[in-house]
Amino acid sequence: MKQYCYGSTVFFLFLDFQFLMKKRHEQKLVVLSIALFLVFNVPFLLVFNSDGQLFGIPVFYFSIFSIWILSIVISYIVLKRHYE
């Protein structure tokens, strides 16, 4: 019985510190971060480095803002689906 009690305390401690998200889904966010780092830096950034505009927004700004929004949406979806 005593052994069992000890086991259960350990168990609750684990619960307390258990990750709320599975590792695989966490790593999705890490990969997102790496992807953002690559896209937001040279040489990748030079892809958008051109003249012209879309809706009055220069192409460079427009691309950065779009990636920005995309990253928000992706994090939102990943967290919504896999947290808890």
Partner: protein
Amino acid sequence: MNNYSLVLIIILYLAVLFYIAFFAERKKKSKWVNNPYVYTLSLAVYCSAWTYYGSIGIAANSGIDFLPIYLGPVIAAPLWIVLLRKIIRISKQHKISSIADFISLRYGNHRFLGALVTLVCLFGTLPYISLQLKAVSETFAIIADETSYISTSILDDSTFYVALLLAVFATFFGTQNTDASEKHKGIIASVAFESVLKLLFFLVIGIYITFYLFDGTTDIYSKISNTENFNSLIKLNGIEDSFNWFFMTGLSFIAIFLLPRQFQVSVLENIREKHLKKAIWMFPLYLLLFNVFVIFIAWAGKLTFGNAVNAEYYTLLLPLENGNSFLATLVFLGGFSAVISMVVVSTLALSIMVSNNLIIPYGFLDKFIKNQPERNSKYIKNIRRISIFTIIITAYFFYVSFSRELSLYSIGLISFVIIAQLAPSFFIGLYWNRGSSKAAIIGIIVGILIVLYTLVLPFTVQAYTGSDDFVQYGLRGISALKPHALFGIDFLSPPAHAFFWSMSANILCYLIFSLTSKGHYRERNYAEMFVDIRNFSTLQDSALVWKGEAYVADIKNVLVRFLGETKANRALSIFFTKYKLSPDTQIADARLINFSEKLLTGSIGSASAKILIASVVKEEQISLVEVLKILEESKEHIVSNKVLLEKSNELAELSSKLKTANQELITKDKQKDEFLDTVAHELKTPITGIRAATELLMDDIDDMPMEMKQQFLKNILQDSDRLGRLINNILDFEKLETGRLNLDIERYDIQNTMKKAMSSISHIASKKEIRLINRNPHSFKLNYDEDRILQVLTNLLSNAMKFCKEKTGEITIDYKLGNQFVEISVSDNGKGIPSEDHDFIFEKFYQSKHQNTIKPHGSGLGLAITKQIVQKHNGKIWAEKGLKKGAKLVFTLPFE
């Protein structure tokens, strides 16, 4: 606007903030204060006056350079799920109250390291605070519309009073508790409120300028695109520019973690880890909204004013130019909000660092030991209060003497570069257990020296002497030592250049010196705890390895000095219950030492806590090897516990499986009994009939008229037939249920089988005048056991016949081809199946309640056998639900 009414507005606004903070402090537990939105908005303290005004200045003058400051955090945000959570977890576990505490604790409660980090933070943040004051003063001057407004003395300068008011605010809500690791909910709530306001007002002015003053984004673009050098504003200019961009992104990535105010709100004021879930996507969204209109405001300003005014204040000047002073006041209040939150949170964080890592460990400890507990807590609070005032006033003087000439952007970046020097010891230390305090100190000092030379010195020299010889020709004219182009690297902007050199040197020093010296055992102990927080958090207080002699009474004495008698007693009793120790334990163990250090950390900082506890205990030196061995053992202990836990879970699962199996067996047994009962009963009925008829015949064999005799004999025959059928059925069913029946599967035409089934019952049907309809005349070949399927069909057909009325009855047989199966249906226009029977008609001996009136014809096994046969063919059988009239039974047969 009138100077006095503006002052009135400012005071009113501050009163509102006081009220909000006060309300939040009173309702600490309410969901208005504890929610992920407040947490996310408090993170927006990142957007200071620099964002609010500075971005526009850069967008107007040098183009895209304002963006990397926000892209760093955007890159960092998804990483928070791993990185920030680890930091939060460590901080909560060790009751850490500032970034200086965090770093010094990681390197074994190192006193000097804590002090050094504090100095770096002070050095980096003071100019930043002064930059905020500069923004207040300049915007005030613009709004107040006084050309004569040039403050001649401090007492005349409204900024000075604003600074004092902010200090009062920070003091009032920042020093309610001696324990600095307690949350400051009042301040956080007001910061969240200000974050809403600043974003809202910025968006309002953005929309006003873009869509009201101008005709939308395309209008502004088409006008500005004709101006000179426009292309340099919307693109990266070559590879050199992209290097700057790269370093700036890195810099802001570091800043979002390490700026003292950022560490304060994101780590120390975090109430629940799960609030990160919202913050990870909402914070980048907040930043995005803040940046959308920046370029349009900047260009609109440029189109309106040319280069005549300071571009940083276009948001104020544009509405004023168009006579809209109300909007301008709103913008001013938004900027003011940005300033207040930044100044208050920064000074709060700095004051805690200064008191816990600088003043207390380097001077006040001896005094504290002699003092009474009440006076100690008062002293600690006073030290913090004085620090807050000193910091703000120093920042004010810094502003008066230096930053009037500099732009918001350049001061902000200098701060970032200075704070970034903490990055190697912070980030690498989180994941690398060999990083040592000596290496951290050397790295930080070397980094800071390089920043001083490349960034701070040039502008100080320039501000004092007015000449830029130092920048142009380098130290003593040596061109390799030019501060903005060390060793000929001249293509980077000054902050990027300073960041590059200082960070490279810092990281290299940190790595090299960590490896050349053998670490101290205590230091390594903490390193292991930080790096492997998941395992060590389960160890809790046993994670610290400590050997020596210590008495509970001595330690209690120290605790009483700082926490007071009642709190200390309560804490100790919690400790004793937690570890199941007797309350009159005399000898203290490692766990108590660790526990008490943690208790004191919040009030006086980790370094002082260590020194205090060390002063009352006798510690024995342990070798590093021994420490590592003990840690390894405790980790193994955890792992084995984990394994045990898994095993016990498995066992529990297994036993529950056994339980369900047992339950099933019991039900099966019951079913078998019921089955036997029914069978016996069913067998008895015809036998009784036969026996009665025979008896009658035997008794009255002579007197009975011929017709009656024949009738009785007919009855006997019928009952024997029924008996025979029943026995056959039971045998069949038994074979099917126990799985002993082997199907004789061959290729047949389903049409033929259907016809055979129909012809076998056609004579009964024609007797009853029931019409049999075959809806689908096509033939289709598939594999099945014809005899058995014939049995199924006959069963279904005779079942249908039973429920049909004579003369008007109609039975339809039909089949459809589905995807990989044939669906065969038998429907009638009889009275249908009552809905409550739908689920049971395929069970053995189930006969509907509604049949009670008539004598049941079948054995009660027909449909059960049918179901078994169909299932044996891997098909399904069911009764269609929701029919208006009649019944429809359907079964499927799969084919390849």
